[in-house]
Subunit: 270 residues, 2 copies
DNA sequence: TCTTGCATACTACCATGCAAGTATGGTAGT
DNA sequence: ACTACCATACTTGCATGGTAGTATGCAAGA
């Protein structure tokens, strides 16, 4: 497959220079839209709930498989196919796709097609910076105010992770992980900061799910790191906490390179 | 006008309990949708450019006046009115509004109306945390790698701010300010971190524009602080830089309280 | 064999119409 | 005077149709 570089094609730009793009690259944008329909249809769990917004439900249905890698970078997402798969008109599908565009999970090429966005190395690298910076800064405040009950809650979330790993339930492991980090922000009255991070975390999670499938013992490593981090937290060792947290988050960026060598180059960009 | 509290009404929730909301509060949601049309029409500079996406253009047309306070919190934004004002159908207007919803600048109450979101104190307070944390952390890296030319660029952006203040051009002042901060991230290869911050900065800017109108000498104070910050940067005094930057950004949160006393309570939330 | 041109089938974008839900103002009944 | 009710005029959510732009594959020509 021809590589889609972000230099050659800028999504949603109708500028004059779009005329001069080579046909060779353009043809890479279209292509396998045919298999899209059944691929999407398999993701729809059940008929949509008419009492809730269709757009929101479709957004959720699409986002999860993108982040988890079931819809790989470059996968075609045509409005009509998805609409047929979920059983609605194209309108709510379109709104869901626009939402995903803003999250930078898909790219729309006007009049051409919509595709799952590649893994953008720069986005991931900078996402690591944002996460580790905000989480460390937040923790410096939390350690001064944390209560015994809150300590206990964190500890219990860690043991939930251990149990999940033991059962091989990576879903539950990730969920407990997410909740642990979120709670640390809520302890400092910063729940909205976490929702901000959650937006950038989407891109880090795309890498993490891929790593989980390809790299042996990855889940074990995650849990080991979490354990170390919580130990530092319990010991009020903020410096140690920050350095461990930093290593833990930046591991995504480090392993990204390794991932790049065993996956199609078209999965990546930047 | 009746206060719209976020506890009483959750946007875009079609849950069963929506039936029990009191009529008194609901009636506050609708109301002055009549004056919306001409209010919006005054904001449209010229006919839209058909060669670019209508949605994006409408989004830009609406966002600026919201951030600047020309469309105050609570202002009605009905799809039909805006569509008539800009001369398109409701579809691209709808997409622009959805975009603004994601930026948390407007709230949509299904089947009731769409309004400019109030100034959310928590969002602003936590936005300050995000900005000061990321900007300080970024600068710790920048000071080690900054070149002479980059130093000169920052200095020139500061003098552009001085010139703008002298001319009373607050627009140009804000623009140069924004570019200065953005460049500091680009120096470290983190342009995407800045776009992330720009999203939270929207809410801080809403406060800043209001302050600029109400508080005498506010522009002068901003420039004074910028000057101090750049001085610290030039002197490689990173600790001083961070503390000044912190004061500068947190000033928004501090003055927010003061602003709350001289503006309708309905402008605020949380 | 290779290139060029064109019909065709797709795409996303936008316009329009309908449906479901909600606030408002007037009216009938108490 | 006051309350309950209902017609009406809004709102947003969704469905559908038309349009401009793009890739593809075939056919005609060099």
């Amino acid at each position: 497959m021809v590589v889609l570089t972000s230099e050659s094609i800028t999504p949603h730009s109708r500028e004059a220079d779009s005329k001069v793009r080579s046909t060779r690259i353009r043809s890479a944008i279209r292509g396998d839209f045919d298999q899209a329909q059944e691929q999407i249809a398999a993701l729809v769990p059940q008929p949509l709930d008419p009492s809730r917004s269709y757009s929101a439900q479709i957004h959720a249905i699409l986002r999860d498989p993108i982040v988890r890698g079931h819809l790989p970078p470059g996968a075609a997402l045509s409005e009509a196919s998805i609409a047929a798969a979920v059983g609605t008109s194209r309108t709510p599908v379109r709104e869901a796709l626009q939402h995903l565009v803003q999250e930078q999970l898909v790219q729309v090429y006007p009049q051409v097609g919509t595709r799952v966005a590649p893994l953008r190395v720069a986005l991931i690298r900078e996402g690591c910076f944002v996460r580790r910076t905000l989480e460390c800064a937040n923790l410096l405040d939390v350690v001064n105010t944390i209560t015994g009950a809150q300590r206990e809650e964190i500890r219990s979330l860690l043991s939930r992770q251990q149990a999940a790993l033991h059962d091989g339930a990576t879903d539950a492991l990730f969920q407990a992980d997410e909740e642990m980090h979120r709670r640390l922000f809520e302890f400092a009255g910063r729940s909205r900061v976490w929702t901000l991070i959650a937006g950038t975390k989407l891109h880090l999670d795309r890498v993490r799910w891929l790593l989980l499938d390809r790299i042996k013992g990855h889940a074990e490593r995650i849990l080991r790191e979490h354990t170390t981090i919580v130990e530092r937290l319990m010991a009020n060792d903020t410096a140690g906490f920050c350095s461990e947290m930093q290593k833990h988050i930046d591991a995504v960026a480090v392993h990204l390179l390794e991932l790049r060598s065993c996956l199609p180059e078209s999965y990546f960009s930047d």
